[in-house]
Subunit: 460 residues, 2 copies
């Protein structure tokens, strides 16, 4: 079996055996079975329990070998000392995919953990693939499956997450990374390269998000990553930069970090988009899911406030975009909107024009926005606007829908302030064609990553 076929059992299981399910709902609801039922997972479920006959209404089995039907995947969440014994049962049953969520193997600081890991390695070799130990396992919003004991907020986003930390699975209002997920944990068997190859061929996945603290077979990873990145953007958060952090990573997942400077160069050579923290990871996964690539580095800014126009130039220089020099035709169109004493330049400080014009405010804004989009010297547009009326949210949404349809190759992004900032963000992002950021700087950083990646693909 090739690795893609093997991993499909983990990510798209048609049947699953569950070890270590509490008989009753538990504090914090950390019950995989309970979650699978509430998600609405449609596959067959076989809870294995030494004493119970049923749990939460599902028939249970004393041993997995008693199950008559074929089983795709086993999820083991038992005390570490019992894991080898249960794994042997799974191998005997012919289960080719086992997730071990339990901690205390290569991540432990005692001999026993390493010993137990070696036992498991010997049991599965050549027969069964292992994900983990010390992992949330897999998640798949498309079939409503997850092996995590935490309840996940999964969405059918076109994102494949490969990680070593459950925090990236759990999500939050700002953190939605999992359309499909593979948490490698200690990566005793299935590794980063395997997971990359899987998402490479998965047509539900258009963006790959990756979190690593380090890995053993870096060369194979980089070979495969370099190939995959030509097809789908890979956004990577590499933690454990410093010596102390690398030590902590060792005790967290048993990973070896390597020097950060080498990572920096290696990731760049593979055209992997490296990000520095969780917010940038979250921004970039969304950016690559939603926006078209930039076809150049020239940014136009349309701002209600001259102050943030100035700040956006700083950010463009910092992150490597250019402040677009507007075409003469665009300057002429804008001049018609402006009071004569106000210089027309990019960033376009549109507020004086709006407030001094005899036209309705938003008509002036829309005319300026269209002028910028139609300018061939502009590769993307950032709008910086204050919103205090619901009606304005609707209008902005209409502009965004029309412009992203008429100019599908130019990213449109926003920074919105004012009392209705959240409402406007929801309206705009609901179009699925434009993105609202929490600061002008973050918008420009995201566009710069788009341009970098686009350039690495030879788009300009």
């Amino acid at each position: 079996m090739d690795v893609v076929t093997q991993l499909r059992k983990f990510v798209v299981p048609e049947s699953v055996a569950l070890f270590g399910i509490p008989r009753y709902p538990r504090e914090g609801g950390f019950n995989i079975l309970q979650h699978l039922l509430s998600y609405g997972y449609q596959g067959r479920i076989y809870p294995i329990h030494p004493e119970a006959d049923e749990i939460l209404g599902v028939k249970t089995y004393r041993r997995v070998t008693e199950v008559a039907e074929h089983i795709d995947l086993a999820v083991i969440n038992l005390p570490r000392s019992t894991v080898p014994w249960v794994t042997r049962d799974c191998v005997e049953k012919g289960i080719s995919a086992v997730i071990i969520t339990t901690q205390g193997f290569a991540d432990a600081n005692d001999m026993e953990g390493h010993q137990l890991q070696k036992e498991i390695d010997d049991i599965v070799r050549g027969k069964t693939r292992v994900l983990g130990p010390n992992t949330f396992g897999t998640a798949n919003a498309f079939i409503k499956f997850s092996s995590s004991f935490a309840e996940l907020n999964m969405e059918r986003v076109p994102v494949g997450l490969i990680c070593q930390s459950g925090v990236l699975y759990v999500g939050s209002p700002e953190l939605r990374l999992v359309g499909k997920g593979i948490d490698l944990g200690n990566a005793s068997d299935i590794d980063f390269a395997d997971a990359l190859e899987y998402f490479e061929q998965d047509s539900d996945v258009r963006v790959i998000a990756l979190h690593t603290e380090g890995m053993r077979n870096t060369r194979r990873f980089l070979d495969i990553a370099g190939r995959v990145a030509q097809k789908k953007p890979i956004v990577a958060l590499k933690t454990g930069r410093s010596r102390i952090a690398a030590q902590a990573a060792q005790s967290h997942t048993g990973s070896f970090g390597g020097r950060d400077e080498i990572w920096e160069v290696a990731l760049k050579q593979c055209d992997i988009i490296r990000v520095n923290d969780i917010e940038e990871l979250s921004d970039m996964v969304k950016t690559f899911s939603v926006l078209p690539l930039m076809k150049g580095r020239k940014l136009a800014v349309l701002s209600f406030t001259g102050g943030f126009g100035v700040a956006s130039i700083d950010a463009s220089e910092k992150f490597g975009l250019e402040t677009a020099e507007l075409s003469p035709a665009t300057v002429e169109r804008l001049k018609e909107l402006y009071p004569p004493w106000l210089a027309v330049a990019n960033p376009v400080d549109i507020w004086p024009a709006m407030i001094l014009s005899r036209q309705p405010l938003l008509r002036v804004f829309r005319a300026a926005l269209e002028a910028l989009f139609s300018d061939p010297a502009v590769d993307a547009v950032l709008c910086i606007c204050g919103i205090s009326e619901s009606a304005v949210c609707d209008r902005f949404r209409q502009y965004a829908e029309r412009l992203t349809r008429d100019y599908p190759d130019k990213p449109l992004v926003w920074y919105i302030y004012g009392p209705l900032a959240n409402e406007a963000r929801n309206e705009l992002e609901d179009t699925g064609k434009t993105q609202v950021f929490s600061s002008p700087d973050r918008a420009i950083r995201a566009l710069a990553h788009l341009a970098d990646y686009s350039q690495s693909l030879g788009e300009f």
Copy 2:
């Protein structure tokens, strides 16, 4: 009159004359009078209008000189060509404080703008102080006053904002900077140094937020800032770093930027906390409003996830904090909570202990948190937690209340993920004693600024 007495007329006016009020509510509600009435401002209001007898139920006057009572402040929002004429009336009436919100003076690219500015300068010299032109003017949540045509979301936070851009006034869900505000606009007369001296003596203001694109009298500013920073933290966002940005700033507010490297050194020498973008400004204003100063650089991290523990070490190195080496007594206390195979170290990966303990999960968490707070080798604690139950928010709030009371000198900060992240943030921040950040990195950056400032005051 000294500058503080002069500025009090701007910030705490007991009476105000308004020029350029639309007779009827206007699109976007850009009507200062309407706003003052809805805020509930208690001072006397004199709208000046050449034709109306009343506007929105308030008696109006044809000229300000017809008003019998003394007037503290005039706010002029008229076409630029009429501003000198009206300003002359204000001087004649004996008004010593005039806000000119109108644009098109030093910020214009024509001669007329500069000419008009000179006229105004000649009219007011020695008699009346001017704030602006091209400004939102002042705001004061404590008396519910603002001269801005935009409706502000003011809160009685202990923050004095000095800026050159209305965007910082308007606010948003993330942006709450104005307890009191002085927007200098073009700063033709009242300048940064004046505003600093005002907030220096204002006991409602414990933190000063400053946004500048550049200024004329840098030396006086730095002299005063160096003095004020010893009493109250000054958090500064300096934009217009690059040559192009400095040009744009010139056309925005007529400011001259100067080289950024010089600003960097000068601000540092004054112990001003320089921030790089709007999010960092927002974080830091809140941090200095809410948290105690750090008495050292040693950070303890208590995390539900080993992955973010590792990331927090990276962030500590990046921003200049130290990963605290826990005292032997603390290590012993933590060991009692841990399975024997798990190494006790900072960052404290508490999840395995919680899940493997026979005690309730939160009792383990609380015990670990108390151990860290009681350790003299720890100067601040960052908690990284996932929350999926309302009951947990309540408990966390209780812990935060007790620990910040028992250890008033140690900042407690959080990064919260999970479905109830926002609810937990509201509960925790409602105590007024702790702060929740949008990422571990931002939490650590804020603590590092606290430590830097504290060290500059000689606290350690």
